[in-house]
């Protein structure tokens, strides 16, 4: 791969173009993001996020950063767990997603302990050692330079803090993998076409999942970024994996 290009699904695009292309995808799907997530995963994405919440070990008074927080599913729960003494920052590079997330949180009576920041995960605009916990759920694969993003997250994490990466991964069995491929490339784009009137964005989703590093590669990347005790948990047969690392 040329140094000046990167993946956008199965396409090779100039590095500087990827962020804009990803932004277009999410501007397009933001309004129907939650509905589509429920439809595509049959509601199981809520369970994956709940397991992330359990592994986060967040306590009252903690400072939490939810990167690529999208429509605020995790931030909503975190805001209740950290309480009025704590702080939750919902960060997303995409203004449309951030707006949908902010509206959803306000509708749920959350306001005083949540901040909304439009930020690029590769260059997080926070001081070193600021957060007790950082989560990025289904966002890392859309980042242009994943290593830079992981280093940036490790930088703003407090010593003893945890980084949790919830992301699509590689199914453990070949049979499930074939079934998953059929579903991703045949059903998902059609579902996107019918519900969100945007089949292309959901084709990108399926392609970007295949181009994302597998469990062991991502674990090594997190270790390279300076995180320790990195471990991962496969969910739904490895379709999704939750990686957790600690900054010591």
């Amino acid at each position: 791969m040329d140094k000046r290009t990167t993946h956008f699904g199965y396409q090779e695009v100039p590095v500087e173009e990827k962020a804009d292309r990803v932004a277009q995808v999410f501007h397009s799907v933001a309004a129907r993001y939650d509905v589509m997530n429920d439809l595509m995963s049959f509601g199981v994405h809520r369970l994956w996020k709940r397991l992330t919440l359990e592994r986060a070990g967040v306590r009252p008074g903690h400072h939490v950063l939810d990167i690529a927080g999208g429509t605020g599913d995790l931030a909503l729960k975190f805001s209740r767990l950290v309480g009025p003494r704590g702080r939750v920052v919902l960060a997303d590079i995409n203004a449309s997603m951030l707006r949908v997330g902010r509206d959803k949180l306000l509708d749920n009576g959350v306001g005083d302990n949540v901040e909304y920041v439009q930020a690029n995960a590769e260059t997080l605009p926070f001081a070193d050692n600021s957060f007790d916990c950082i989560t990025i759920a289904f966002g890392l694969r859309n980042v242009t330079d994943k290593d830079a993003a992981l280093r940036s997250m490790a930088r703003v994490l407090k010593p003893g803090g945890r980084l949790l990466v919830l992301e699509f991964s590689k199914p453990a069995s070949a049979a499930l993998s074939r079934l998953y491929d059929e579903y991703s490339f045949r059903v998902l784009p059609r579902m996107g076409e019918w519900v969100a009137q945007d089949g292309e964005s959901y084709r990108y989703l399926a392609e970007s999942i295949r181009m994302h590093p597998d469990q062991e590669t991502l674990k090594a990347m997190m270790e390279d970024a300076g995180l320790e005790r990195v471990e991962y948990t496969n969910m739904t047969g490895g379709v999704v994996a939750l990686h957790r690392g600690i900054k010591l």
Partner: protein, 216 residues
């Protein structure tokens, strides 16, 4: 197993929060508990659940690496005691009966238990939301009468069955007979312990004398 348990907890959380929303007294009770955490640790099966309270309701989380510092109070119990606790049994009664081990701020547990046991759902208001005031009121009155009838009938049935089994059929002992039998069994247990201690002492004495004879 972890996914199944997490699904179960998610369902329980939704159910409990749904019920709390319909109790007019819940907001003030939740405000008192906001920010507090109770860790429930079941012995068999070995499970740990963190109950987090906030002004909106509760959050139930499975604890994968239980840590005492995560919660204000830690409760260790078995499945039967958990059932009794959820059924409205008082925390103190279970603690004094030795069925509940509690560490930390016990008043948090007491308040948490009251939140659930004193739940009074305003069904009439909820029905009125769907049916209108008058039909909801009539329906609620009917349901209340039915509930009172059910409670009265259950009480009478329990008393009649108890009377038949103890007094007429004589299949079960009366409370007094049961207490006397238990007292006798306790005395028998103590006497057996004493006898066992005496026998042990005699065995030791015989052993000592035998060793002395060998020595001389």
């Amino acid at each position: 197993m972890p996914v199944m348990f997490t699904t179960l907890l998610a369902s329980a959380e939704t159910l409990i929060n749904g019920l709390l929303k319909h109790d007019p007294a819940s907001p003030s009770r939740l405000a008192q508990l906001a920010g507090q955490r109770v860790s429930l640790r079941l012995e068999r099966p070995a499970l740990a659940v963190l109950v987090h309270f906030d002004t909106h309701g509760i959050t139930l989380l499975s604890q994968h690496d239980p840590d005492e510092a995560d919660s204000d109070v830690v409760v260790e119990l078995d499945a039967e005691t958990l059932g009794a606790l959820l059924g409205g049994e008082r925390v103190e009664a279970l603690m004094f009966a030795g069925r509940l081990s509690v560490r930390g701020r016990t008043h948090v547990l007491e308040r948490a238990s009251q939140l659930l046991s004193d739940l009074e759902i305003d069904w009439e208001a909820e029905l009125a939301h769907w049916l209108g005031d008058m039909p909801a009121h009539s329906l609620s009155q009917g349901l209340r009468r039915l509930n009172r009838f059910g409670l009265r009938t259950r009480g009478e049935l329990q008393r009649d069955v108890h009377e038949y089994l103890t007094e007429e059929a004589r299949l079960l002992p009366s409370r007094t007979q049961w207490e006397i039998a238990r007292e006798h069994l306790t005395q028998l247990g103590l006497a057996t312990d004493r006898l066992e201690a005496r026998l042990d002492r005699l065995v030791r004495e015989i052993e000592r004398r035998r060793q002395e004879e060998h020595a001389s």
